[in-house]
């Protein structure tokens, strides 16, 4: 018993509950990277924005070097990249036919990779940008606008309107409400998952700084971050597929009614 108590003291040391709270608050706070003034307005750039710039530059460089000198018969890295692109297209093909899937794949793949790599920064002990709610909200808003725009591009404005009215006209307000809830749900899911994992990891780093963070980090830093990117991309596809399906069903029903009348 005495040995256990000494071991506990050795691991935890002088830590008090108040210290943990103080350290956690320090870890959670959104830091200012730098600020500049534009037209007399002070614009603060948070640290997570700088991290996303880093991720963007990394992905852009990777895309430039991997997309260069493509050969008819793939070799080396080209095989891996083609596999990735094919994976993204087949995820999109779950909800729509192949030709449309190839048109949505660029956005879906970009957003999935971007979120996955932004979350992976926590391996390097850089706070992941998704712990700032602004990151999640911005991506969710971009995605919902993309979903609506793509839906309209694929089925036309009339088809989109029909998809809003599809099972019943009385559902229109709820369908409109749905388009407001979707970005909230998307952003809260991303923010909540990453923030929760980040806080848990910070807590473990403070309380037990050895061995255990390495084991738990495999899930919370690596697998969970990639999974969130995958889920975000997948939900984008599902939302687009929902519009397409509703529009097609509505058009099929309209055709059936015309045939019945004649």
């Amino acid at each position: 018993m005495n040995f256990l108590a000494r071991l506990w003291d050795a691991i935890v040391g002088e830590l008090r509950v108040g210290d943990i709270g103080e350290a956690m608050r320090d870890a959670i706070a959104v830091r200012e990277a730098f600020h500049f003034s534009l037209l007399g307005i002070r614009i603060v750039v948070a640290d997570s924005v700088v991290v996303t710039w880093g991720v963007m530059v990394l992905l852009a460089i990777a895309a430039f070097f991997l997309g260069r000198r493509l050969k008819e018969i793939p070799k080396g890295m080209q095989i891996a990249v083609e596999g990735l692109v094919d994976g993204v297209v087949s995820v999109c093909a779950n909800a729509m036919d192949r030709k449309l899937a190839e048109r949505t794949a660029p956005y879906v793949g970009t957003i999935g990779l971007f979120i996955a790599f932004s979350n992976l920064t926590s391996i390097l002990k850089i706070p992941p940008p998704a712990k700032n709610p602004a990151f999640a909200i911005a991506l969710a808003l971009a995605t919902i606008f993309y979903v609506i725009a793509t839906g309209i591009r694929m089925v036309g404005l009339k088809g989109f309107w029909q998809s809003l009215l599809y099972p019943n006209k009385a559902l229109l307000p709820f369908k409109l409400l749905d388009y407001m809830i979707k970005p909230i749900s998307l952003s809260l899911r991303l923010f909540g998952n990453v923030f929760g994992a980040f806080i848990l990891m910070e807590f473990i780093y403070i309380v037990v700084p050895a061995v255990i963070p390495g084991v738990l980090g495999l899930w919370f830093d690596i697998a969970d971050g990639i999974l969130q990117g995958l889920i975000f991309a997948y939900l984008t596809v599902i939302y687009i597929g929902e519009i397409l399906e509703n529009a097609h069903e509505a058009q099929a029903r309209a055709k059936l009614q015309i045939r019945r009348r004649t």
Partner: protein, 76 residues
């Protein structure tokens, strides 16, 4: 505000939601296994559906997590 009550509220918020989400995911997974056992040839499709369902069920627990984090860090 009373710190103890806030801590209690944050704990309760995530506890109830986690219970509900766990129950929901358990039910969904159980039914998915049953369906896969009945029709193993549809395993891929069922798995996709299961993941979709789990994402939506899990969202409720995540909302509760956000609420309890807000309680802890915003209303202290």
């Amino acid at each position: 505000m009373d710190t103890g009550l806030i801590a209690l509220g944050a704990g309760l918020a995530i506890a109830i939601a986690a219970g509900g989400a766990g129950l929901g995911i358990g039910l969904a997974a159980g039914k998915a296994f049953e369906a896969t056992a009945r029709q193993p040839e549809l395993a891929g499709r069922i798995q996709t559906l299961l993941f979709t369902a789990i994402v939506f069920i899990e969202a409720t627990a995540i909302y509760a997590l956000v609420v309890s984090l807000l309680l802890i860090f915003a209303f202290r």
